[in-house]
Amino acid sequence: MKTHYEFKPLNIGRWLVWSLFALLLAVAPLVFRSGLAVTVLSQMGIAIIACLSYNMLLGQGGMLSFGHAVYTGLGAFLAIHALNAVSAGSLPIPVATVPLAGGLAGLVFAVLFGYVTTRKAGTTFAMITLGLGELVFAMSLMIPEFFGGEGGVSGNRVVGKGYMGINFGPPVQVYYLIAVYTFLSVAAMFAFTRTPLGRMLNAVRDNPERVEFVGYDAQKVRYLAFIIAGFFAGISGGLGALNFEIVTAEVVGAGRSGAYLLFTFLGGATFFFGPILGAILMVLAFVLFSELTNAWLLYLGLIFLVTVMYAPGGIASLIMMNLRVAAYGRLRELWVSYLALAVTALVVLAGAGAMIEMVYHLQLNSAGGSELRFIGVPLDAKGANSWFGAAFVLLTGLGLFELTRRVFLRHWGEIQEFIEKETKRKEAL
């Protein structure tokens, strides 16, 4: 009996997806050329590795870690020390392999810390990682020999003449190095999900007890996965060290760990590609979103509330749901609803945004006059008109949104029913 026949048609699709991914990585800096864009792209690559490695724990192993930055961060520190050793000539390895040093460091620390953390799952695991994270962060300021104190440790990635003009001076060269690492790491982590250990990790997540009755040691499965996740986390840290050429204590901080958790979840922990989306959003949120508005933290918080409530599977699950609808050929009838939803949602956002921005303006900026522009519309933060206008827009938007949402939900439900019937029918065949 040949069993993997059903992978055949998918394999073509898979080749396509991976080639597209590679292509995307290759052309991105040709499209977005500014200095900021290149470093943002680099950071996205780095974040993608970090979030995927985090999701090995969260999504695939059911381990909620509050201290993943420990492994990315320590990887970064080790990598920058390695880089400095390379610069000093005491470590004869090419600069391009420095991230691997970070990976090794992540691995070693995961071996050390993972031994105690992965003995338990659930809340106990979460809390140990929280405690370890705090400890490592506190230590980072107390032991300047290794962590470089407040200023951190800096290095210089340009060592010697380089090879064929590649000396990693120009950010674009570093970007391509990161892109290569990103591609390989993503591929490796995807491959991992298809291996016996990867599958058993899912089993451990679902039912650690039962795993022991099919011959596996649940603890050991968790531990091994933790080590592998630590390795990739370290690589991501090492790439970060190369990109910034400086590593400071913030890389092991709780803020980082929290961000990995939040954005991995936002992207979608249940699908492999979810964390990739999450990572991209993370970089956008921290680098660009915060430049657009002072109220970015507020928006971020609200986005999380809404996502957790209405799309607990993250963005990836939304996409997959629509793909499923598309597979049954019924996505097309939804676009009107989507359009309506988007438009009304934008109206709500405009109303709410105008009010939020006015409050912020009043608070931070009032001396510059009470006028401000919000998406091109002049507003007067002290004028009743603007406030009434914004409130009106908000309320109308809310009303319309709710209306369209209901219509959409009915339609959506009907389609789901249809799909369910179809699957039942197919099963019965």
Binding site: M1, T3, H4, F7, A191, F192, R194, T195, P196, L197, G198, R199, M200, N202, A203, R205, D206, N207, E209, R210, V211, E212, F213, V214, G215, Y216, D217, K220, V221, L224, I228, E427, A428
Partner: protein
């Protein structure tokens, strides 16, 4: 205890004991099962049948006594160690991997025994033996059509079947089934018993059952557990005739009616 067959025991309990806090639940149980025997374990509710299974399979550590599998002591070992030595069990309350598909569930059950252990250097898709074995199991438990359905979405009976599939997947020689037919209707039960018989050919089987029909249909021998002791271990006919068993367990006419009904 009367030993009809001779030779080494596949599974042997020697004065096995287990206490929870102050209460002793298993009070010196003795039992010897020969290879290939099908044994039904019966007894009143709370007698300690499931506890006995938990002790044998390593879920609990015994407070005293010994458990031997093919002559080797396994008491005090962890569940996965015992499993690797060739003993596998199912659960009274369905216990599978809810977010994995039927096929994945079964494949998880076979991986270790085929020697793949913790490897992450091979693709699952390339493990022909594991895939074939899982397909075969899936066919045996008649879930081919639900191959890619997540286990949570199966009906109760299907989940029970899957539970059995995962249990026998590893190819263990000794199988413990805890109330495999619980919650099934008569007809389903009948089908299911056939299934169990079919998939456990040549294996040593211990199963807990309350349904006398099943018990008498399936078992070569019956072990009666009462108050943490094995008070009788014999052929079905002799056990049914046993006065103590009558008193402690079977009650009067219901048992007869049930047993006779098949």
């Amino acid at each position: 205890m009367t030993d009809t067959a001779t030779g080494p025991f596949a599974l042997e309990l020697r004065d096995l004991r287990k206490s929870f806090g102050k209460t002793e639940i298993i009070r010196g149980a003795n039992l010897g099962v020969r290879p290939g025997e099908r044994v039904a374990v019966i007894g009143p509710n709370g007698a300690g049948k499931s506890t006995l299974f938990n002790l044998i399979s390593g879920r609990f550590t015994p407070s005293g006594g010994q458990v031997l599998l093919n002559g080797q002591r396994i008491d005090g070992k962890r569940p996965f160690e015992i499993n690797r030595l060739g003993l596998s069990r199912s659960f009274q309350i369905t216990n599978i991997f809810p977010k994995l598909s039927v096929f994945e569930n079964l494949r998880c059950g076979v991986l270790w025994s085929l020697g793949y252990r913790y490897t992450f250097l091979k693709f699952l898709a390339d493990l022909d033996d594991a895939n074939d074995r899982a397909e075969e199991l899936m066919h045996m438990i008649r879930l081919d059509r639900k191959r890619d359905t997540l286990a949570v979405n199966l009906t109760y009976a299907e989940q029970r079947a899957l539970e059995i599939g995962v249990t026998i997947g590893g190819g263990a020689g000794v199988i413990l089934l805890d109330e495999p037919t619980a919650g099934m209707s008569r007809s389903e039960t009948r089908r299911f018993i056939e299934l169990i018989k079919e998939v456990t050919v040549g294996k040593t089987l211990l199963t807990v059952e309350h349904d006398m029909g099943v018990v008498f249909g399936l078992a070569d021998k019956i072990a009666v557990v009462v108050y943490g002791e094995v008070i009788a271990f014999d052929t079905p006919e002799k056990v049914r005739a046993n006065q103590r068993v009558q008193e402690a367990y079977l009650g009067s006419h219901v048992a007869d009616a049930q047993a006779g009904g098949h």
